[in-house]
């Protein structure tokens, strides 16, 4: 399955189905700070050795795949933090922190991809109604959060081998990968679960990840 095939069917104008008022987001929360602070650093990096050259298609594909997942996560946390009374007070700081990182990942990957970067695709966080109360029921929200985080961990892990020829991008991907794992650990803990399934985390192929993620693309 090709990510571009899926994304080409998406109307780029409909970017914020669940995100009613984008300006409102930028006024609120620490998300703005996270995203903006990162931009100059990313640009500095991009203009130097790391991501300066024309990237091979294989790496563009991996980064585009990663950016798609980060867009989903970014929108998911923005929407959750905006939904009144969804996230209990004691966990708001945690979800703000996670959201800040996902926004930073979107900015980082977008800069790395340059003109090849995709915009946020149109999303349906209810997955066609399967999770109709995604933004009103914290239990559902937690379930989805864990799903996205564990999916992200498995996705980056599965792609590492495709980045083996590019040390800088491989390392950056690994540095995102472990942050997703930290997120997964805390979300699981909040949900009353162990932070892990076992001693080894298994990878997922791009096809497996897309199969899981596609219902959330509108």
């Amino acid at each position: 399955m090709n990510i571009k095939t899926i994304l080409s069917t998406v109307d780029p104008e409909i970017t914020d189905r669940l995100v009613a008022n984008r300006r409102e987001f930028f006024r609120s929360s620490a998300l703005k700070l996270g995203a903006m602070a990162s931009a100059p650093l990313v640009l500095a990096m991009a203009s130097q050795q790391a991501f300066g050259q024309e990237l091979p298609q294989e790496i563009v594909d991996v980064l585009t795949f990663a950016l798609t997942l980060e867009h989903i996560e970014d929108a998911f946390y923005r929407s959750g933090l905006e939904a009144d009374g969804l996230i209990p007070e004691e966990y708001v700081g945690i979800f703000n922190q996670i959201g800040k990182h996902e926004a930073a990942h979107v900015a980082f990957l977008s800069t790395a991809l340059g003109s090849a970067a995709i915009e946020r695709p149109a999303l349906d966080l209810t997955a066609g109604g399967t999770y109709a109360d995604a933004l009103t029921n914290f239990e559902t929200y937690l379930t989805l959060s864990q799903t996205f985080e564990d999916l992200g961990v498995a996705a980056y892990k599965g792609q590492a081998g495709n980045l083996i020829e590019n040390d800088d991008i491989l390392q950056a991907a690994l540095q995102i990968h472990s942050v997703e794992a930290r997120h997964a650990a805390i979300v699981r803990k909040i949900g009353g679960k162990k932070s892990w399934d076992g001693a080894f985390d298994e990878p997922m192929t791009k096809e497996q990840v897309l199969e899981a993620a596609t219902p959330f693309l509108a």
Binding site: E102, H105, F108, V153, Q175, H177, V179, K189, S195
Partner: protein, 216 residues
């Protein structure tokens, strides 16, 4: 665990940067038998031995934590820390088996700086080891040539990150510490450290002389 400070002072890790300078030269061994010293080796074997050394350290640490629980350890803490011990033992044994004949010997550890009866001392040490493990694997990925080994390292590192987050939340519950700004930067990237820096940080806890002459 040894408290032999005089010997310990002689037997230090040699980090990669120092190792390069002396590569090929004779290192003084102060009369210590070969079994107590180890060079990690080169190439993927060197990287795997590097990981194996860190997993040995972690496994030994959590074995102590469970064998001599800190005062007031709750059932839940016992449960979680036992899981972590078991994971580190699995990581250690997995790497040892993968390395086969190329594996470095068992390392002698020194946890004299840790007060195993004190929750804070234990958890802060755990946090140090977990964050260090994450940073070590993140920095070592690019040194690995074989895709299968890279995947194996990836399967371990995210579990270390899960440990790190859980331990951090035990210390500062419901705070942002699980992925705090001290370990995740403005780009949302976790720490990555080169072997020399990791080995220097691990040095106080390891008695055996370990050199990384070829790990760059």
């Amino acid at each position: 665990m040894t408290q032999d400070i005089s010997r310990r002072r002689l037997l230090k890790w040699t980090g990669a940067s120092a190792g390069i300078a002396v590569a090929g030269a004779m290192l003084p061994n102060f009369g210590i038998s070969a079994a107590l010293a180890a060079d990690l080796g080169e190439g993927d074997i060197g990287v795997l031995n590097y990981a194996y050394a860190l997993e040995q350290l972690e496994a030994a640490f959590y074995t102590m934590v469970i064998d001599s629980p800190f005062e007031g350890m709750t059932d839940e803490e016992t449960d979680w820390l036992t899981d972590i011990r078991d994971h580190e033992v699995e990581h250690r044994d997995f790497l040892k088996e993968a390395l086969g004949e190329g594996a470095i010997p068992d390392l002698e550890v020194d946890f004299s700086a840790v007060d195993f009866g004190d929750r804070h001392s234990v958890l802060m040490t755990a946090q140090t080891f977990e964050d260090l493990g994450v940073a070590a694997y993140n920095g070592a990925g690019k040194l690995i040539e074989n895709g299968d080994y890279l995947l194996a390292a990836g399967k371990i590192v995210s579990v270390e990150a899960r440990h790190a987050a859980a331990i951090r939340d035990m210390i500062n519950m419901n705070s942002v510490s699980f992925a705090g700004d001290d370990v995740v930067d403005e780009n949302g990237l976790d720490v990555a450290k080169e072997p020399a820096e990791v080995l220097a940080a691990a040095d106080p806890f390891i008695v055996t002389e370990v050199t990384a002459m070829s790990l760059v």
